[in-house]
């Protein structure tokens, strides 16, 4: 088995990304490998967030790059390579979540986690515990609301960009964001001191 490695995937400059996008669309030798090297970390991070920090990321990341490889000719360069990969990642994560929901319904496995009440007894673990609780709270959101939260707060996209990526209007994105904030407020408020 190949060694496991955490790859952050250093971001490319605009010119480098454009050149790589052109070479990738032409299916030039080595272009796909360069795309994987440049974006696998970001794709993995995005997929991990969208799936609620689930451990089943490697399969989804493979799916994303497989779709990119088979759809390279269809990448017309209308958007940036990262935007295109983000769209593919969103779709693949949605498909993964649907299958997982069906599978768990079939096997009657309860997946939703509930937050445990009460503060941690160990003061030094509050940061990590809070992060874990926040991740749990975000993971507990409905999938479409979670997408919006991840893309808006974690990926740094604007509401309009989130709308373009998810296929929603800007208003629908705002509605989802406020709904998610209300839910997170209910869950996180008892844990966080103002």
């Amino acid at each position: 088995m190949a060694a496991l490695a955490a790859m952050d995937g250093a971001e490319l400059s605009g010119a480098e990304e454009s050149a790589l996008a052109v070479r990738f669309a032409r299916m030039e030798a080595g272009a796909f490998e360069e795309v994987v090297a440049a974006y696998q970390g970001r794709v993995a991070r995005l997929a991990s967030r969208l799936l609620g920090w689930d451990a089943e990321v490697d399969d989804v990341v493979q799916d994303v790059f497989l779709a990119a490889l088979t759809g390279a000719k269809g990448f017309g360069g209308k958007s940036s390579l990262w935007t295109w990969l983000t769209t593919i990642t969103l779709n693949r994560c949605r498909r993964h979540l649907r299958r997982r929901a069906l599978w768990r319904r079939f096997w009657s496995v309860a997946r939703r986690t509930t937050l445990s009440e009460g503060a941690s007894a160990d003061g030094t673990a509050i940061g990590a515990e809070t992060s874990a609780r926040v991740r749990e709270a975000v993971a507990g959101l409905p999938p479409r609301d979670r997408e919006v939260v991840v893309l808006f707060y974690m990926e740094g996209h604007s509401a309009e960009e989130v709308g373009r990526l998810t296929g929603d209007t800007a208003n629908a994105v705002q509605v989802r964001l406020s709904r998610a904030r209300r839910k997170l407020d209910e869950v996180l408020a008892p844990l966080v001191k103002e």
Binding site: V36, A44, L69, V192
Partner: protein, 188 residues
Amino acid sequence: MDLDRIAQLVSQADAGVTPVVREDLARRVRRRLWRRRAVRGTAAAAVLLLGVMLSVKMLGGRGEQRVVVQRTDVRDLRRECERLENEAELHERVATLLVSNERREVRERRRLEDVAAEDGVAMQVERSALILLRRGERLASYAGTRDEGVDVYRQIVRLFPRTQGGEAARKKLDEMNSNGATERKEQS
């Protein structure tokens, strides 16, 4: 909790959580693509082969079936033809019989009509002869018109020789001739 606090918490939620990705991702993706194409190609070939086999079987079966149907049709056709011929012959006989019956009836009717017509004419002839005979008898019964009576008798014999009136008139003439000969003999 204000929005900024939520945003801060959420944006820091995955701090320290770094997903691991294997180094050979590109190679694995290419291998997976090759496997998918191989599977799809095999599946397509299998479907094509199955389709060809089914087509051959269906066409072959249809051909055989056609032959069987033809044999069966010929026998049935022959039987059907015989049946139709017999039926036609029967119809023809019936038709001929009907026609001949009709002709016979027509002939009979005509014959009867002719006979009736002939009888009518004969009767008329007879009647005429009898009427003349009565006239002749009336005329011959008087001495002054006896000669005219004889003329009438002779006319009847001439015109209606084969009638009862004609026969009667002949007899009258014979009697009158014999009576006339007897009177002349007695006078001499």
